[in-house]
Symmetry: D2
């Protein structure tokens, strides 16, 4: 069988680079076009390609597009490409509310909805970890919906993209740490709420989301304070999570004694989930800590996972462990 021909739109960004890297080892897809407006004509490191401008990609020669353009541009390109008959995974936030019929793709939660689809919106990095961590607890009825879940998250700097901005210079970030977009002001809040609502099959639990900027290149850690219903505890939480993710190649449930760290997941497509009991408070409360690589499971790796489902490949093809 011929390999499917891929166009990576926005291939000089961190996510685009990661896609090109993953696709080098994919058994059923190969990167035919990699786009960059600023570096058009230059060589794509590690390949025999040269960057072309997005407008110069001949869609007739492309089977599937991974669109990593800036938010705003990406969705428009993706819709146009999809209307031209090309399969599309859009990695921006533009289509995540289902615009143009796009399917929201977290395989471990909604695998069957993604399989065979032709337009998929790849989830945000923060929401991926939050939804995967909370889904087993919500589905098992362990979460007390009357109180907010506090979600304290920290991300490596590549999550902010590769555009030159003063605030992301090494001299600004090294040895620093800070919260940003606090108080539910982050643009992922709506996506998180929608995802929780879909999991709950109705009203989403309340939550407060506070992202922080870590002085590391990649990785997200999300520390979640989850109010439990009376009678529930860490044992039930671990069991529900184990049970829901049994056999999942990319979910690692750590049990009651271990919490994940970035090192466990960086450079892999894995999500590591740990739980801890909380003592000293009267109402039952659970700590649920999730780690993932923002560029792999939080972006390029999950995009290939979705593409594999869209194209009928083994879901893990080309992604490694």
């Amino acid at each position: 069988m011929n390999k499917h021909s891929v166009a990576v739109l926005g291939a000089t960004g961190y996510t685009g680079q990661e896609l090109v890297r993953i696709l080098r080892d994919h058994p059923g897809m190969f990167t035919r076009f990699a786009t960059s407006e600023a570096e058009a004509g230059q060589a794509v490191r590690g390949t025999s390609l040269r960057y072309v401008k997005a407008a110069d990609v001949p869609l007739a020669e492309v089977d599937i597009v991974f669109a990593c353009l800036p938010h705003g541009e990406s969705g428009a390109y993706s819709i146009a490409a999809h209307e031209a008959g090309v399969k599309v995974v859009d990695l921006s936030s533009d289509l995540r509310a289902g615009q143009a019929g796009a399917e929201y793709g977290i395989p471990e939660l909604w695998r069957d909805c993604v399989r065979g689809k032709t337009l998929v919106a790849n989830p945000g990095c923060y929401p991926t970890g939050i939804l995967l961590g909370l889904a087993p607890l919500i589905r098992a009825g362990l979460v007390d919906g009357g109180k907010p879940v506090m979600i304290d998250a920290a991300s490596g700097v590549t999550g902010a993209g590769r555009t030159a901005k003063r605030e992301y210079l090494f001299g600004e970030i090294a040895e620093d740490y800070r919260a940003y977009a606090a108080g539910n002001a982050h643009r992922h809040v709506r996506e998180i709420g929608a995802g929780l609502g879909r999991i709950a099959g109705g009203e989403a639990p309340e939550f407060v989301f506070t992202p922080h900027l870590l002085p590391v290149r990649r990785g997200i850690l999300e520390t979640m304070y989850v109010p439990l219903v009376v009678g529930a505890g860490v044992g039930a939480a671990v069991e529900a999570t184990h049970s829901m993710y049994a056999g999942e190649p990319y979910i690692e449930v750590l049990g009651e004694t271990l919490l994940p760290s970035l090192r466990d997941v960086v450079n892999t497509n894995r999500v590591a989930i740990g739980h801890a009991a909380v003592t000293g408070v009267k109402d039952p409360l659970l700590l649920c800590v999730v780690a993932l690589d923002n560029l792999v499971k939080g972006a390029a790796g999950q995009a290939v996972q979705n593409a594999n489902l869209m194209l009928g490949f083994e879901e893990t093809a080309g992604i490694g462990r």
Copy 2:
């Protein structure tokens, strides 16, 4: 007037080094003895001293001791030195529950209790930030005591001390981030609870404390989710904080629009406090974010601040801004 003669016990640790550095510029104290068991006889960088063993310090020639020995050893030494008539600031956790009559020294909260005392227990780094951030809110009656405060904290690695341990090697910490001692298992939990109780003048509000290990050398950021009483909001919180800390040289209240970052406080004795409103939850909730340098305001700087009060100096003497 002759300068007071100081002994720094445990002077090769990060806190001890910082004390020696601060005291070089102090107008009323000078380091006469700096101890190290392993490096006795070697030169103390930046001074004309040589390290001596702790047992070889002639207490008769010392006016004040800063004890930075390991937890366990430090308190015993401090009590003995104090009984020998020497003033003591103990920087370990050994005396923070008031053992041997030690006064718990956070000047901005209990300045008058420290003034003129001869034995002071210097607070932990995490509790310093938490108590300073929450005190104005508790005292102003803004905190809803029926729900726990969630305290998500992150500290630079020097907070773990300078003893060689595999888990703190550069190769383990760089590009990593993780929670530890989660679920109220950290040894500072008791100190935090006692401090909150003292501020509240009775029962402390419940809290959950989750420390994380940051890949930076120094600095603590504490993101606190504070349930408010009905009718209270971020404006009242900022106002109460401003009002309580008016004129304080080391407290910087940022107002409603800014949150602090480590860069604002590292290498200074300052605590920066910011507040943010939280939208999208039905019960009133406040974000209170506090930043400080764990080695300065969280240890050596506050110790000198306490010593200044004990000896009758200007409280800011030698500490800088």
Copy 3:
């Protein structure tokens, strides 16, 4: 064909961890035993194994040993295992002078000597880069042997191993940089000299080797100042290097305009080599800059490359690009 059974001796060190990681994807070998004295009985992350003590490895069940024990212990173990009929790659410096008949294994230089051997000494990380960078220049007669080559090298901290030492704590290394073992005092100097002599087929050119400690986890960059014979220039150097390494899967020759950086090679088995002309000096001089990952091409990756040659596999089997 059954896969060859592997024992990784010293599997909790950085090199041992990397070996276990690489071997997970190897088509012809699998890790049967992973040893640790301190963590015996505990699980080996990412596998279904548990660590055993080195003395408890039943050599009769092992086809090939990778010995990553501390310098001193490793060679003794390797010789004993080899005498017991097991194939051995020793990753310490113990056998690199040819002790017990061990072959020094840099495939790109002496591939045919390694093929089919049963005891191979895996080269040091610094010498690997130096010898691969200088070999084409020496063999092509471009180096002026009358003047020393200055070799200014910088390595990430994992090169110092995973044993707990104060000097390698995050708090000591972050934001620092320093030379060590300067003036040809490093233990690799003898290995470098022997390797250069073997390349030259006689007397080695003089050299001065100055290693530095970089605040990064992994990667080595070696900046070499190479005196050239009259008439030689950067063009001849690039051509000789291109020509010697044509078809080599792990050597990337960058040409006259680019110099390598750690990012080009980290997490891969590649060595990137760049050259630059030097202006403003009367005698011809060349800059040759080499980058490699100290844990992959500088240790575990090259060890698997050697093992592949020893066992008759494709040289790149399991190593990736």
Copy 4:
């Protein structure tokens, strides 16, 4: 006496920020104006000032200007301000060849030339360390002028300024290391040559300068391979350096056994100089390693040192140790 009124031109850059910080504690100068084109009107952190545009500084109200504008703009502004009767320290490279009569200001080498001058060109960060390290050796006749000095230098990222450029993003720099402007292509090469010539009182020794980019915020380490005349050795080098810098407050000569690291000097105005013998080469060769903080002794600290000499203050006023 009234304090001298200062204008810091380009006060949002790393050097400008450092100047504002140093001047807060200066006994004889205070920052009256701090300029920024992009942040005009905003508050200057840690002061009661607001940024103004450079064109809006009323020079009639200014006693001394520190010009930290981009190379190209800075010299023009400095010359105009100087012609308007204001004293000027220009921190760009524009006037370092003596344009408009500017004096090149390294106090430890040419203190008497700076004293009382009204226009001073502040040296580059790399040249400052090189010239201070080599001056004692050249003046004592220890350097063999017939062979080049190899200068392998590494700088923290703040040396590249605070302008947003992709290559200096945290995501590009962290865990990376590379040479740049190799082969004597760096713009400091001419300044180094001129300085060495002035020290030598005639022809400068040849040299090769290779800067590298370190993943640290601040600090420069320069490892120099210095050919010695026959009979000279490390002892003579240490002695000459000690002797020349006896009593200098900002030069620390480490002796024969220690080499400096960034940690020794960062956040101070000090230059630390170490020497090591080289074994295994037939012609006498010395390693001379120099460390300094690129933003303090390499920029803002030395600028204030020069200003103190220009204005008749104690040379160390306001700079600290």
